[in-house]
């Protein structure tokens, strides 16, 4: 399936992310990864799905279900703490991008490098896009990137296409449920 960048003029180049049509792909990637990490930006706490839920609530569910370390960027940590969830670390979006290029680094200090990064909600489409581009060219040897944001991010290895809020929430719910089921097994 072809997908277009959300911001129309952000044209990436010849290699583009595989479009995730089924959320199970994400849960499968997470389950298979040796050392996954989840990066969440401030938009996860800004967007409201209209039912009292925000993307950050799903980030917490996914992280708990799969036991993935979470890095909160900008001041998103305050929103996690309000929900009684302590992220593994908080640092700027630039810092986490930069560190993920380092094959000797892992957020827990254990088992480097990270081999899979789920990325969601960095506040500006173009900023997230650029960090993913940095990872594409400078972390490609050890890291695969997956965007579970609302929009298509072509610089990742895998990405959702551009989604309505409703479909985005549906996908996040499915990922969380899959991982929760997997944990119960």
């Amino acid at each position: 399936m072809a997908a277009e960048p959300w911001q129309k003029y952000e044209i990436p180049g010849p290699t583009k992310a595989v479009v995730i049509t089924k959320p199970e792909v994400v849960s499968a990637l997470v389950t298979r990864a040796k050392n996954p990490i989840l990066v969440a930006g401030f938009k996860t706490a800004e967007i409201d799905f209209g039912n009292g839920k925000k993307p950050i609530d799903y980030v917490i569910r996914i992280a708990k279900a799969a036991n993935i370390p979470v890095v909160a960027t900008a001041h998103t940590v305050s929103e996690f703490l309000k929900r009684d969830f302590k992220p593994t670390a908080w640092m700027s979006a630039m810092d986490i991008g930069n560190r993920l290029t380092d094959p000797t680094w892992s957020v827990t200090g254990k088992n480097p490098p990270h081999d899979l990064a789920l990325i969601i909600g960095i506040s500006h489409y173009y900023m997230s896009w650029l960090i993913m581009s940095g990872l594409k060219s400078f972390a490609y040897k050890h890291l695969k990137t997956v965007s579970i944001d609302q929009y298509y991010y072509p610089h990742c290895n895998w990405s959702f296409p551009n989604l309505s809020l409703k479909d985005w929430e549906k996908n996040l719910t499915a990922i969380a449920e899959n991982l929760e089921k997997g944990r119960k097994k």
């Binding site: 900008a74 908080w90 500006h124 173009y126 650029l130 060219s137």
Partner: protein, 783 residues
């Protein structure tokens, strides 16, 4: 090099007869009390070692716009994932080359501006017109020129020598971007630093020239308050709008008005740095606003005549002027706009053609003539034009919004991804508030109105401006006129407290108007002035800071004093005034610490980097000039934070606080290597949110030289803001606390407990004499 200048009023020989003959041979070297240091007029290679030292601590993290390079005809080349281009270049080198290209363009733009302005001012005031930037309060008039070139300028003519050096270096820098030159990214980055250093020298020469000749405030903390905001413009008068950066045409407009008794009858207003600079010349002029206000003001139809000079002008300005029947006068060969060159035509003829509508505009490359034409045309056409604008009324907005089919095309081309379709939905139902709310986040680029974007041919920006009509009319604020340099006595007063850390930092808000939200500038300024930082500003950032009132209804310029002291808020001036900010840091090293200034860049930068707690913030950085301005700060080791759009500069310079080995300095007293923590942590740092910027500012003001009292003050601000916005203690306090005495008293118990958890140990040498330069190690005196 020796100097030789021959000036002959009349020369008559067998073969030649000449009048007003002037010949300069070689560079004018004015002796000053300091002997030259090791690096007079550095070339690209001279300071490479220093750059590499910084770049070892602050490594580039590249953020490619796309996978390709398309610079030469062997391309396009895909450089992603370790591939190399047909010329052998890799992605890191290509990204750093783009940064260099941007900084070379920026430096060339300021240098070109300086050259043009100085030549014009020499013609008007004479080569020997004296430099005067402080009316006796500024002895150190040109810190950058003295530091870099070893020239102590005394006259306008001396400034030409400085600019000549800059021009030579920029040619070499630009040539390095050619295919098949530099191949190493770190060496590209060193060249980027060189471009930045040159840029500050050129900007300084430019501002010195205009301060010395025009009636600008001269290092005046009490510079007058002037009016800013679209609402301040008296639309009943003929209105002349100046846009750009080169002030002479605007000065001549005002001088013509004055000579002809029209000062109170014609409104002179401006956008961007020409606006800042004309209000330094006369407080009768008004500032419309920053760059983002350009199109919306032109389209309001208020301006009868638009006079453009150079830089940051809408390149479609002629089309836009024609839409509202305004006359356009171009005054610079950098920006002809396709208009005929009428410089040598009789003034009356040009005026007649413009007033009659025979021509939509004219190019006049003579400031005096342009000034006269602008005023005469404005006076003649204003009554006829009746301010024809193209801003819709409420009923028209509602009818238009009903046609929106929610395709999201406008949002998807908007640089700020603004939710226009949602606002249209509300507007169609008669609620214009969501549309008006977009106003402060809109940068006025009108990409949403580009041909073919909206399938229903709607004009979202125009509708938004219409919906914000009342808000725009209320845009009436005060800004302090650009004061120019910092006085020597101010430096003497604050040098100690800054170096010791007792004034927690200098916060410099600079740069353009590509922000995700313009209010952030004022919020940052207010927060840090209240916290007793020194807040300095230039250009569009200085303007944006003024366009917001606190709870008492005051702008930051009314609420805080204009002195370079704790809690001061200073508008230093336009883009070319930025070197007064970096220059203040240099002056602290020179005047307060008495380090040798003459041709001694490396040592001064080492001093500034390790001791002067300053940080630049460019919340809306957009241009190539903004990148070269930032790189001039980097070479001095001063960190710069940019707003989210700054990530599009394609690389950050990031420290790794988790790597202890990166954070050692040499104690110049003993030669011992000492761990000093990540102070400062980053050199170029794009942030995601304004809250993140607020927390990073005090953190990036920490320096190895802080006394325990100073460090405690800085930590107090860092921890307090972190708790406020992040809802918890920072997780890296242990990296900044050297001894128990560094801990802010009111937070002692909490922090001691945190330190215990981290296994923190007191530093054995908490207050070294920090340097990165082994040559500065002194012989052990005692012990």
């Amino acid at each position: 090099m020796t100097k030789m200048r021959i000036k002959i009023d009349e020369l008559g020989t067998d073969i030649l007869k000449a009048k007003g003959f002037e010949l300069s041979v070689g560079r004018v070297v004015e002796e000053w009390e300091e002997t030259p240091g090791p690096n007079p007029m550095p070339d690209i290679s001279t300071l490479r070692e220093w750059d590499h030292k910084l770049l070892k601590k602050y490594k580039p993290f590249y953020l490619p716009f796309c996978d390709l390079c398309c610079l030469c005809t062997m391309g396009k080349c895909d450089l992603s994932k370790g591939k190399r281009g047909a010329c052998g270049l890799d992605m890191a080198a290509q990204q750093s080359r783009i940064v260099l290209l941007s900084c070379a363009i920026g430096a060339a733009t300021h240098t070109g501006h300086a050259r043009h302005l100085i030549e014009e001012l020499i013609e008007k005031f004479g080569r020997d017109h004296p430099i005067n930037v402080g009316d006796g309060s500024v002895y150190l008039e040109a810190p950058h020129a003295r530091l870099v070139t070893g020239i102590k300028p005394k006259t306008l003519g001396d400034l030409e020598d400085i600019v000549e050096y800059c021009e030579k270096e920029i040619v070499h820098l630009l040539s390095c971007c050619h295919t098949g030159q530099e191949g190493n990214n770190i060496d590209f980055e060193s060249k980027v630093f060189h471009a930045g250093m040159i840029d500050h020298v050129a900007m300084e020469a430019c501002d010195i020239a205009q301060i010395s000749t025009y009636n600008f405030p001269k290092a005046d903390p009490e510079a007058p308050l002037v009016e800013i905001g679209i609402g301040t413009i008296d639309t009943h008068k003929p209105v002349i709008l100046v846009i750009g950066h080169n002030v002479p045409p605007a000065v001549e407009i005002y001088e013509y008005m004055k000579r002809n008794g029209l000062e109170n009858d014609v409104e002179l207003c401006g956008i961007c740095c020409t606006a800042i600079d004309i209000t330094r010349h006369t407080q009768k002029a008004k500032i419309v606003g920053p760059l983002s206000h350009q199109l919306r003001f032109v389209r309001s139809g208020v301006a009868d005549v638009i006079v453009v000079d150079e830089q940051c002008i809408r390149t479609d300005i002629l089309n836009e002027a024609m839409k509202v029947n305004a006359v356009l006068i171009s005054t610079h060969y950098k920006n002809f706009q396709g208009l005929p060159d009428r410089t040598n035509d009789p003034t009356d003829e040009i005026v007649n053609d413009l007033v009659s509508g025979k021509a939509p505009g004219a190019c006049i490359l003579n400031s005096e003539k342009a000034g006269e034409v602008a005023v005469r045309v404005a006076v003649a056409i204003a009554p006829k034009r009746r301010k024809m604008g193209i801003i819709p009324e409420d009923s028209q907005i509602i009818e238009a919004a009903k046609k929106c089919t929610q395709c999201h095309s406008c949002q998807r081309v908007c640089p700020n991804n603004l939710p226009i379709p949602e606002a249209m939905k509300a507007a169609a139902k008669g609620d214009l508030k969501p549309l008006a709310d977009l106003y402060e986040r809109c940068i006025g680029c009108v990409r949403c109105e580009s041909e073919g974007v909206c399938p229903n041919n709607l004009h979202p920006h125009t509708l938004m401006v219409g919906a914000s009509r009342i808000k725009i009319r209320e845009e009436k604020f005060k800004i302090r006129a650009g004061r120019g340099p910092i006085q020597d006595v101010e430096i003497r007063r604050v040098g100690g407290p800054i170096v010791l850390g007792e004034i927690p930092g200098i916060v410099a808000l600079v740069g353009c108007a590509n922000w995700p939200d313009w209010k952030a500038n004022a919020l940052i300024a207010e927060e840090f002035a209240k916290r007793n930082f020194i807040v300095v500003a230039t250009g569009c950032a200085a303007m944006a800071m003024a366009m917001y009132r606190n709870e008492e209804g005051l702008t930051v310029y009314e609420a805080f004093p204009g002195a370079f002291d704790a809690g001061g808020v200073l508008n230093v001036g336009s883009c070319v005034s930025n070197p007064h900010i970096s220059g203040a840091a240099i002056k602290i090293a020179s005047i307060f610490a008495k380090r040798k200034l003459n041709s001694n860049y490396e040592e001064i930068a080492d001093y500034v980097h390790n001791r002067v707690g300053a940080v630049g913030i460019s919340w809306g950085a957009m241009s190539q000039k903004a990148s070269s301005i930032a790189s001039g700060f980097w070479r001095l080791g001063i960190p710069v934070i940019v707003g989210p759009h700054g990530s599009k500069y394609r690389r950050a310079l990031l420290g790794r606080k988790d790597r202890d080995e990166d954070w050692y300095v040499i104690d110049a007293r003993t030669g011992e290597r000492v761990y000093v923590g990540p102070t400062p942590e980053h050199l170029f740092f794009p942030v995601e949110t304004v809250e993140e910027a607020m927390v990073m500012i005090p953190k990036l003001c920490m320096r190895p030289s802080d006394t325990t009292k100073g460090r405690a003050i800085k930590l107090n601000h860092y921890i307090d803001l972190h708790k406020k916005f992040y809802g918890t203690l920072p997780d890296d306090i242990h990296l900044f606390v050297r001894t128990v005495a560094d801990i802010p008293v009111t937070m002692k118990d909490e922090i001691l407990e945190f330190l215990k958890e981290k296994g923190w140990k007191e530093s054995k040498n908490p207050s070294p004499d920090p340097t990165l330069l082994p040559r500065l190690i002194r012989v052990k005196k005692e012990g």
